[in-house]
Symmetry: C2
Subunit: 205 residues, 2 copies
């Protein structure tokens, strides 16, 4: 009968609501676990970065140059500017699923006045849903170039008799297609996780 | 000096080993959480499937036919055979990251003698590493067709004056390219999670 049918449908709806509740709890628990470990790991990343900054000059430049995928991208100009990079760090958003920052901290350098430049990747949409197959969004700090030092000004500087160009800063300022941003992936998932192998130029274990 | 350099490198290695340990613990904890909730949810999925099987005849056929992506694929022959589907269930591997099964349970039917046919998806390689960008592997049960009832035999059966063909069973037996197996995705991530909306042919909330 129709009443029986209705009852069966309601019973299924009850099962579905239980499953939905459990899904929400599971996502919450996963998020908390990720955040907990992110905090635990941060202590060691910070300690590592302190050693790099204070005891190992040219660490990041060397790691960049020895990294097979990153090296391909670097121009001479890039290598010169990246030698002023004293700290690279990846920072998760407060809700770790929502996105992350790539921070690049530079010492005083001839190119720009910023100390830290940041590129951030947003992986969630406005409704706080994780962007699955949807496009992420990236945003980058404005680089405050010193006069005549803009590495992205592509026109020939007659005075200096050289073309200034930077693939690294091109990537940094390009937010057109963050979904296929391979360099961000390489920095976050490889270089940041274990840069020592590239600094020492040894085979990864 | 070289000794200082060596010491700094060792200190970084120590940080990296701590980070690696935390990564392993995090993965373990994530796996345990996923498994715990999978068990919790299974109770409700089982209850739901019991109601479907015992109280709502033609449930799965109706849901299949009303599902916009699945419906596109179904031939008349498929719809006839799928009406014998009494239970659909998705089962995770013991290690939930390693893969999953799609089980299709049929009542006695004119087409084949199997009771349950299963298609399984392996998402990890031999070293128990989750297959990231690597290809998954799928394996399907052998279907024991009754004489002259093979829905995959494409040649015209003169006796019955019809072409027997099934897009559903073609998909089921095709393990060539599991990475782009959209039907498996739809079954696992949509139809299985909430089939009621398709059974009732209502808008999803």
């Amino acid at each position: 009968t129709n009443k029986q049918f209705q009852k069966s449908v309601e019973n299924i709806e009850y099962c579905q609501s239980k499953i939905k509740d459990l899904d929400i709890k599971e996502m919450e628990e996963m998020k908390n676990t990720a955040q907990k470990y992110s905090d635990y790991k941060k202590i060691h990343f910070d300690e590592r970065n302190k050693i790099i900054r204070n005891e190992l000059p040219h660490f990041w430049k060397t790691a960049f140059v020895n990294h097979p995928q990153i090296e391909e991208l670097l121009t001479e100009e890039d290598v010169e500017s990246i030698d002023y990079l004293v700290d690279l760090y990846v920072e998760d958003f407060e809700d770790i699923r929502a996105g992350y920052f790539l921070h690049f901290e530079f010492s005083t350098n001839p190119y720009f006045t910023n100390t830290v430049i940041t590129k951030e990747y947003h992986l969630m949409d406005k409704n706080h849903k994780v962007l699955g197959k949807k496009e992420p969004i990236s945003v980058s700090s404005e680089i405050k170039w010193k006069p005549d030092m803009d590495l992205l000004a592509k026109k020939k500087k007659d005075k200096k008799k050289r073309k200034t160009f930077s693939a690294f800063f091109s990537w940094f300022t390009d937010n057109e297609d963050p979904a296929s941003d391979e360099l961000a992936e390489v920095i976050k998932e490889d270089l940041w996780l274990n840069p020592l192998q590239y600094f020492l130029d040894i085979e990864a274990d």
